[in-house]
Subunit: 311 residues, 4 copies
């Protein structure tokens, strides 16, 4: 399978990990979920991320899930999250998944990092551990990691390591960071691919600022695919119209902690996975929350219908 | 002026503090801003909150701003944020503003608190400091304070102190907390007023869960007023239609750190204040961000126009 | 091998993990280190703790280190640290090490926990994951985890789970917590074993407050053994005299981040391990720091000599 | 009164703020405490620091305490802590205390700072606020502030602002930072004064690394004075012998949260202040802790007696 590069673009859906109601990995649902994502237009997948309940998996399970996802994905690129408290585990999992054909690995900084030097040193250690041949995605997600990486520090890291080819951008607010990076590239720094997270909630602005696409787990990936397509065609108002129709649900789905329960509920409802269950410990939706989600979906469907008739 | 009570409801706009471009308090804009908020339908104001740049003010300035706001507000209730690192400052400012006629004070927990006991002990200290006659709003905002207060701990605090009459609710996710509190009240616990923050982004759901209104600083307070009115009339779909029209800008305004710059830009554009300047240190919008805001406002105006024609 | 119980007492040395200068696990040094600890009087060992560089090991390495340590320890009890970001990894490692003959496992709370409910729920999940037959040590180390567990919350957890048999006590300050727990036991709550960490820096006071011994990695375990022996014989002044002679080095060793480098330097100097190397990323002592350590050791030796002559 | 400079050296005791048992500022004890500190050999004082319960004071109280301390100190230099959540309060208090004759002000970074840029920007704002004529002490205390400032970042700040003349050094571990700074100065960077905190627990090593003295609140300031004198005379073993006699109590006093209660207890016992009371909220020593302190003092007295006889 081809590796991701600094020119990678499009929609890489952050995949969840399907479980049965008793907490076992639901291998049947892995296949149906992978199919679902590609049917909806995904260019690739990112598995074993934070929303993939990766820390709840044993290493053996992580490897099996990767193997199955890669097989089912065929030629489509799959990025694998390998963040771990220690470099040895990162190195071990990276080797395993790259040998199986992963397109790259994604690494978030551990929450103990504070100074710029510590952050820069950490990614130097990561590159030394996984080697300079493995394409790496730097996940910049301060809301969860607590680690704030300035545009300048990102630049130092990108200049030091050619195989950090992509930024998973989810600083919040992070629009200026996209602009900073693209301006530095215009002045001569090598390009990196920028795919945006943050539940998709700023996708129209991110695309106009110079992002290459989206990497997040919103349960309607077709929205991201279509918004990116329209943005790339400079049809920004059409992109925003479509985006706005989905925004009420996106906003609801963005609730920290609860977000995954909402996504899995919608994915199960749409037939992508068999059960919305999370492995313990995990939140689940009560009747009240389900009613709120269902209401938002109904309204969303009506808006999309109305949009189609305008066009 | 009347005090807030456990039955207070409606929209209390979180007011910004207007500054001139050189960082002086802009007293002229205080009057125009107060007028603006009430013209848009606000039931009351909350000043000197986090978005009011309170920590950047001297105590003398805080008192003068309160005096002027109270005078201009006439009979309308004004809540004053008095959060401070120490109890002496809280006590001193509380006495000053209550003597001038404030309707109550708002206190957020200091970020050093961790265990339930520490949180409960803190509010006991606050009540001992300001006295049992002063109506207090407990501000529950873990995204900023880092202090997580469970529904159970809130219950212990409410049972212990009758003069904590209101919850400024901005846990995220926090919908279940509203339900928890209302269910405990249904079983006999005394009522508290719940006004919701979080930039208004969950207002329709919050109202259906039992909130009494909104307390946030979105630069179009008429949206909050109207959503609350429609929700109270059980016209939830109409409320949501209106809300959806404003949501793209609300979402943009919710960016941490940048949010106040956006709000002040819009308030200045709408004539409520003379300048969007923040006192140092503060973010300001660059041309790119301004273009994004302007585009969202244009689209919002068009949507509201379309809505009117449907009704 | 016997399991630890609520009556376990004595000195359980927190073992380091020996590495070669190139970062491989140094199996030869595991044997010499284990022998060293028991020769110095240790009652048992705790391996794969924070100071054991556990997060830098692969799961396979963790299991092999445990196997070798257990074999070399013969009848002596070995506790294994199994803290991990997710329950599945905790469950998997626990099963593996208990099957091999470990005396119990130690679990620290993940740093994301905040409210008392979250902490209590976490240990419920841990017990459900590892089962009620496995003796568990609750590691209470807020300086590193950021999780503050009140005496009351500890009590709720101990009452709920009989197989949490031991507290690794290293709150700071934590003397009152020992008193709180012992007083609750005097009033009828079941007993737990309390072994103290914090680099040994409060050991005399901890023993007088009712601790059952020490669990920390000071490179002179004979100090801990002798202080505990003297304290148990009510010879508290003799215990303190001995303690005071070691205190200047203990204090130096307690520096966060640098502490392990100092311990490994001393252990290598004393012949317990072949190399002071840490697996990457890790601090190492420069010439200046080594000179400081050597000076403290020289002075310590002189003081111990003087003490012997007094007795 | 003379200002502090980059050549300032000696012992600046961190003064507590004496309160009566009902929480009023005890002005009588301010005089006796100031006298006590100078009798014990202090070169100057630092008031309104973290251990001075500064956040519990109103601004008016802070100014009165400063006025009285300055008056009683005569020609001796007094540094005033002015850390506050906002620049306006910092500026206002700085102007007030410098006008009254303070020797300089001390500013710790707010705990919200993360990246190097944010830290550098903060001190630029501080200098712009207080002016370039006011001597500033940068307080580097990550254990409490959560802000980690690397040696490199300190260097950038010192190069940018000539009136930041002193570092209150209490990173932990921080010995290498002293060496880093002195090495940079040897290569041409301007000198800064370095006075060390951390409860004095590393004072002998700090002096040998190039510190200019101590700035901490240990209740036996004569120890700090004498250790600095001996270190400056290159009598490092004598300095360490004296230090070691006090270390058991210093260690006990260093407990976070409890430390101030211990210091005030000892200061009251020594007659420096009338009451050990802290203003609410504050810890106090129970009988058990008092017995531990008394025992350590008895042992300390005996050791000092023995030392005298050796010399």
């Amino acid at each position: 399978m081809a590796h991701i590069t600094t020119d990678t673009s499009g929609v890489y859906v952050i995949a969840c990990t399907p479980f049965t109601d008793t907490g076992a990995v639901d291998t049947g649902s892995i296949d149906s979920m992978v199919d679902f994502y590609y049917e909806k237009g995904a260019d690739g997948l990112t598995i074993l991320g934070m929303m993939g309940e990766a820390p709840k998996l044993t290493q053996a399970e992580s490897i099996e899930i990767t193997r199955q996802t890669l097989k089912r994905s065929g030629d489509k690129p799959v990025i694998v999250g390998v963040s771990a408290p220690g470099l040895a585990a990162i190195g071990e999992l990276t080797k395993a998944v790259m040998d199986m054909g992963a397109a790259g690995v994604m690494v978030a900084p551990p929450s103990s990092l504070r100074t710029d030097e510590q952050i820069i040193g950490y990614y130097r250690n990561v590159v030394e551990t996984v080697g300079t041949d493995v394409p790496i995605v730097l996940q910049d997600f301060p809301l969860v990691t607590g680690v704030q990486i300035s545009s300048k520090t990102l630049g130092v890291i990108f200049e030091a390591h050619d195989n950090i080819v992509m930024l998973k951008h989810e600083d919040w607010p992070g629009l200026q960071k996209i602009t900073d990076l693209r301006e530095a590239e215009a002045k001569g720094r090598r390009r990196v691919s920028i795919l945006c997270g943050n539940a998709g909630v700023f996708l129209p602005e991110e695309m106009q600022r110079g992002a290459d696409g989206a990497m997040t787990g919103f349960a309607y990936p077709e929205m991201m695919v279509e918004v990116c397509r329209l943005a790339n065609a400079n049809r920004h108002d059409d992109a925003q119209d479509l985006f706005d129709a989905y925004l009420p649900l996106m906003r609801y789905e963005q609730q920290p902690g609860l977000g995954l329960a909402i996504r899995k509920y919608v994915l199960a409802k749409r037939g992508a996975i068999a059960s919305a269950a999370q492995r313990r410990p995990g939140a689940s939706l009560n009747a009240r929350a389900i009613a709120e989600v269902e209401r938002l979906i109904l309204r969303q469907t009506a808006k999309l219908e109305a949009l189609k008739q305008t066009v």
